[in-house]
């Protein structure tokens, strides 16, 4: 009979005495692990979606909102900008800009956003076609993996969009038919939950509803004819930015910009110039997201302190349980000494009990954390279309295990020392 077995038997003998301590400990550990897991995944999502975009230019408003909307697709746009204003950015010859990607928002399908843009956006997020092709004509769309999986869209499927960013049947443009021509492979970025099409499609959906309604709901092969009688300026001949410049009065939501060189002095002032001298607003994703981290950070910090407090209180309660149990078992422990157990052995026994309690608490906490994350992931997915998962383990969790065991050890050390020091003669003489 090893002392590990003996420690275990002592714990399971009276599980109710220790239940509260263990649950409390589990809660503390669970909350700490949860925060780690949530932060790690959030940061990963945000970082992945940064996609080396240096600047976002859009309508004036909250810069953070503009970033969240145009890069993370979780907030509403600050407004639209006329192409003539953004024209300098969209020209191929701009000395500072490597890539300028126009974005037009305004519609969704089952709350997956439809984005009017060019092929650069897909490239930016490393989107590779899984099947089909990239959109060519108006109302053709190429969709992200999550959209295909969750909305059940296949190549050749047609769907109608609804206006805005929430799925609402009352707002459906029931006369506009989109056709899926391609599906991207999963990228782990926001691209997975986007529906990409050309910029003109977004214009068509929003600017000519009355005229469009005369047409059939199917646009397959009819795009050209459908637009023949309408404002021809809406029709783009290809996906290039140059083509956009031919429609200076039309609007887009934003332009995502990659610099040729980030360290260029002019590039550093570029955003400020836009903010000061134009009706548009420029914001750096890295700065805005850092601001967001700092804002979230306060809350996370408070929660983390609370979790740590719970863990410490539970360690205290483990200490009290062990101390009480040690008092109750002092004859037992003295007896073990009589039977040949050394002081070290008695000491180790109590320490082991503390460690086992902490380990059980850690296991409960870890299960709570991951199952809880998985449950919350479902809600996050419904609300933001962002996929989190509980089935991901971090290396930091080993650190949490280490801290748990240290707490267990600390909680046990005083009872263990008392047990080891006790005078067996005195204990056994007491009746």
């Amino acid at each position: 009979m090893s002392i590990i077995q003996l420690a275990w038997r002592n714990i399971v003998k009276n599980p109710l005495n220790l239940l509260l301590s263990i649950i409390l400990f589990g809660l503390g550990v669970g909350l700490i692990s949860f925060l780690l897991l949530f932060n790690a995944q959030l940061k990963e999502k945000f970082d992945k979606n940064l996609a080396e975009i240096d600047l976002v230019v859009g309508a004036k408003g909250s810069p953070l909102q503009m970033i969240l909307c145009n890069m993370y697709h979780i907030d509403n746009p600050t407004g639209n900008i006329p192409i003539k204003n953004a024209a300098p950015l969209l020209r191929d010859l701009h000395p500072l800009i490597k890539k300028a990607i126009p974005l037009s928002l305004g519609d969704n399908y089952k709350s997956y956003r439809i984005v009017g843009t060019n092929y650069d956006l897909a490239e930016l997020y490393g989107g590779k076609l899984k099947e089909g092709a990239l959109w060519v004509k108006d109302f053709e769309v190429t969709i992200g993996k999550t959209v295909a999986d969750e909305a059940g869209l296949k190549i050749g499927d047609e769907f109608v969009s609804s206006h805005g960013f929430v799925d609402d049947e009352d707002l459906a443009h029931d006369h506009m038919g989109f056709k899926v021509v391609g599906i991207f492979d999963g990228t782990g970025s926001v691209l997975d939950q986007l529906i990409l099409t050309n910029t003109a499609t977004i214009w068509n959906v929003h600017e000519h509803p009355e005229e469009e309604s005369a047409d059939s709901t199917s646009h397959e092969g009819h795009d050209h004819t459908a637009h023949e009688g309408h404002d021809h300026s809406d029709h783009l001949h290809d996906n290039s930015n140059a083509d956009l410049l031919n429609h200076p009065e039309n609007e887009i939501t934003s332009v995502l910009i990659q610099y040729k060189s980030r360290t260029n002095f002019q590039a550093l002032n570029f955003g400020r110039n836009i903010n000061e001298n134009t009706e548009m607003q420029a914001a750096s994703p890295a700065i805005e997201i850092n601001r967001l981290y700092n804002m979230i950070g306060v809350g996370t910090e408070a929660l983390r302190s609370l979790a740590l407090l719970i863990a410490i209180v539970s360690a205290l309660s483990i200490f009290i349980s062990l101390f009480k149990s040690m008092r109750e078992r002092k004859y037992e422990l003295a007896l073990m000494r009589v039977m040949g157990a050394s002081r070290t052995k008695v000491f180790s026994l109590i320490i082991l009990e503390g460690l086992i309690l902490a380990l059980i608490g850690f296991i409960i906490g870890t299960v709570l954390c991951h199952v809880g994350m998985e449950v919350i992931a479902k809600y996050l997915k419904a609300d933001f279309r962002y996929s989190f998962t509980g089935w991901k383990f971090l290396t930091e969790e080993w650190l949490v295990l280490g801290i748990s065991l240290i707490l267990g050890f600390v909680a046990a050390i005083i009872p263990a020392m008392q047990a080891a020091r006790s005078d067996i003669n005195k204990t056994l003489s007491e009746k």
């Binding site: 009979m1 090893s2 003996l6 038997r9 002592n10 399971v12 003998k13 078992r329 004859y331 037992e332 003295a334 007896l335 073990m336 000494r337 009589v338 039977m339 040949g340 157990a341 050394s342 002081r343 070290t344 052995k345 067996i424 003669n425 056994l428 003489s429 009746k431």
Partner: protein
């Protein structure tokens, strides 16, 4: 097997107790008689190495137990001395047989479940081997304590008032059992008691005053 020489002990603030020299050979039985408060338990603890001697010496076989200290003493005690207390305590989380096996393991011996079961059977509590300690009667607990003291076949068995809580019939029975098993294990048996019934049965005795 066990012998003491000029043992004296003084509790702080108390008067000095002077113990007569005792001697007990293997397979023999020695009765230490005395009324309450004359230091019977103190003597037993001195013999068992639970209390450090202040004056004089205790030899078990050829070992002067005063010369042992710390974990050496604990280990020596575990292997060579079986003690039956007046108030028997057990590890409550363990079953009857596990308590006996624990004595084997704490003494550093190989655990032998069969030996433990056989010993319990010889003591007529084989059928209670898997029971919880707290479900046993006082008499049954006494037997488990005896089994636990005997399992390592110690050189010396010390018993503190093993019969005082028992009626005449059980008293004789337990005493016989103890003596029989001590003989079988080749141990010296020292019984410390105020139970005068025993003095009619055991001739080899020392009286504390």
């Amino acid at each position: 097997m066990i012998s003491t020489n000029n043992l004296k002990f003084k509790y702080s603030g108390g008067t000095e107790i002077v113990f007569p020299d005792i001697k007990c050979e293997a397979k023999d039985i020695l009765l230490v008689l005395g009324s309450s408060g004359v230091g019977k338990t103190t003597l037993l603890h001195l013999l068992g190495g639970l209390l450090t001697t202040q004056h004089g010496s205790v030899h078990i076989q050829d070992t002067d137990i005063n010369k042992l200290s710390g974990s050496d003493l604990d280990a020596f005690r575990g292997r060579n001395i079986g003690i039956i207390f007046q108030q028997n305590h057990f590890v409550d989380a363990l079953s009857v047989i596990e308590n006996v096996i624990l004595a084997q393991s704490l003494a550093g011996n190989k655990t032998d479940k069969n030996a433990a079961q056989n010993l319990l059977t010889r003591l007529n509590i084989g059928h209670k081997a898997k029971s919880n300690i707290k479900d046993l009667s006082q008499g049954e607990k006494q037997r488990v304590a005896i089994a636990r003291a005997l399992i390592n076949q110690p050189r010396l068995i010390l018993a503190d008032e093993p019969t005082s809580a028992l009626d005449d019939q059980n008293c004789t029975e337990v005493l016989n059992l103890l003596h029989e098993q001590a003989k079988a294990a080749g141990s010296a048996l020292v019984i410390v008691t105020h139970d005068t019934r025993l003095k009619d049965i055991i001739s080899n005795r020392v009286i504390l005053q």
